[in-house]
Symmetry: C2
Subunit: 295 residues, 2 copies
DNA sequence: TAATATAATTCGATTAAATCGAATGATCAA
DNA sequence: TTGATCATTCGATTTAATCGAATTATATTA
């Protein structure tokens, strides 16, 4: 794929926001013809019209609207980068900042927070997000460590991954699904199921298991967030394949019941951090000593 | 701020990934001198060195590592845009996709899901993320609607915001904090508190309230995720300022107790969708009829 | 309805930015 | 020491972006 010209995209953004080439041209301090030409080459390169030319006005097409959203985020990132580099935020802060992948069980996060609170009275800040975001924020020192469920997030040499342990995965459900214990896992066929989204490794493992055993459940919903997933299970919307440890509390109160184990499907959790020149002793001590088996 | 040259950034990314200007130059089909020059102008413009020149090798500086992460995300977005436009994914799907801001109480999400399940048996997909991400995914049809706690997400004309209702906000805590009821809100002074991160409007409102009343709590932790926040409260880590309706269940089981109301602090929830030419009837009917007061 | 203002576009000329090629310096490995 | 590898410097050249003048089309209004 021929690569996108980001200067053209920048011009497009200004045109879209000001509403016309004329206004954009005064703002950008270049002439109308230049802008018009650049816009045209962008459209040619993308292979679709970004504006609908109605009479003497420009109106965003659907493709244009999509492009504008992307352009906004792209250029926001760019200016963010510039300010970060300008301000040189390279200082150790009195706050420990932890990033968590959306799909990490809250109980694990909570366990880590409790552990840190016992060790030190420093302020803790929790952020969630996807892989790209969290890695970016770790690079720019906005995050000290990441809790993740896979270790190969980055090919970067000076990123450390420490395993927090492995857990088995089972199918859980409310009382009314208990009869599926008999003849498990075949009994799962065409039963309602609530799955993590395909962003997660766990989802792929589950799909693989279902495929191997030739099981075809009815997928009711997909979600990134395990706590929403659990709530949906408690509300009897469907069955939940989940790491065993993450539902212990709910199993104890009988809100959920174990239906059967997914053989060979496991979930492993990792604590990821970046090796830095200026080492924060609090953080390294946490990384060294924390272990989630202690949950 | 003089604006970033994204072509230079692209070259930088290739150099960083291949490890040398020489390798990058063969990959990009341009000469070493050109690349070297472009890299230099980028460094000049950013005002800091991205590589450390040691002998004949290049090694990323801290600033370089940060820049690389940003560059990766920026160019990922760019290619994503191109594929979306190429494939013209402009079709209505058999799945309803809902985006939720991280800070939305899970009970509200769950309520909406239940409502949809009652209305139709279509598959539901839930995604979380920040404002930029969700708006982008809505523009590119990867999301049908967004649950948000503020309405002014975008200046786009054809985005519809529908209020789901307003709730008051109070401070909650475990049993051991009940004594703070007396002399509220002054009693909050130097008490441990768990707050939402400053990404959210609610946090700003809370800060404003505390400032007005000259209260200085001890901030134990900050989090984006309301369910983690609640868990921390139940574990007695500190006090929680939260929308009343979102903790009803926990108050009922006596896991949390209301300490006092934050006068004039409120939280409003919105259902946001995009007006499209090809209208999905299921989605519009949901948007029209759903109302969270029915929780 | 003709005159004026506004907006986008086209076209050849011009300018600025990027690239090349040849040469230089620096380092490593044999 | 010699050849190989890699980054850099410098003037020449090519390519891409921009300008200015002119053109077309369409609203606005006198």
């Amino acid at each position: 794929m021929a690569w996108l010209n980001y200067h053209h995209l920048m011009y497009f953004k200004t045109i879209a926001q000001t509403g016309s080439i004329a206004k954009a041209s005064t703002k950008l301090l270049i002439g109308q013809p230049a802008l018009s030409a650049q816009l045209k080459t962008l459209e040619d390169q993308l292979g679709c019209a970004l504006f609908e030319r109605r009479n003497r006005g420009l109106f965003l097409t659907d493709a244009g609207k999509i492009t504008l959203k992307y352009a906004n985020q792209i250029f926001n990132l760019g200016t963010e980068l510039q300010t970060i580099l300008k301000d040189q935020i390279f200082s150790a802060s009195p706050t420990i900042k932890i990033g968590a992948l959306d799909s990490i069980p809250k109980s694990l996060i909570l366990n880590l927070v409790n552990f840190i609170r016992k060790k030190t009275k420093v302020k803790i800040r929790l952020l969630e997000g996807n892989v790209d975001e969290l890695l970016r924020e770790m690079a720019s020192m906005q995050i000290d460590m990441i809790i993740s469920n896979y270790s190969g997030m980055s090919d970067n040499k000076n990123i450390f991954s420490k395993s927090l342990g492995k857990t088995s995965v089972s199918v859980y459900g409310s009382k009314k699904f208990l009869f599926l214990k008999k003849n498990f896992p075949d009994s799962l066929n065409s039963q309602p199921m609530i799955l993590p989204t395909s962003h997660s490794k766990l989802r792929h493992d589950i799909d693989h298991y279902l495929h191997l055993n030739n099981i075809h459940p009815q997928i009711v919903a997909e979600t990134q967030d395990t706590s929403v997933q659990k709530s949906m299970g408690v509300e009897e919307l469907g069955l939940l394949p989940l790491p065993d440890f993450s539902v212990r509390a709910l199993v104890k109160n009988k809100h959920l019941h174990k239906i059967g184990m997914l053989k060979d499907v496991t979930e492993e959790y990792w604590l990821i951090s970046q090796q830095r020149e200026i080492d924060n002793p609090i953080i390294s001590s946490i990384i060294d000593s924390y272990n989630f088996s202690a949950v």
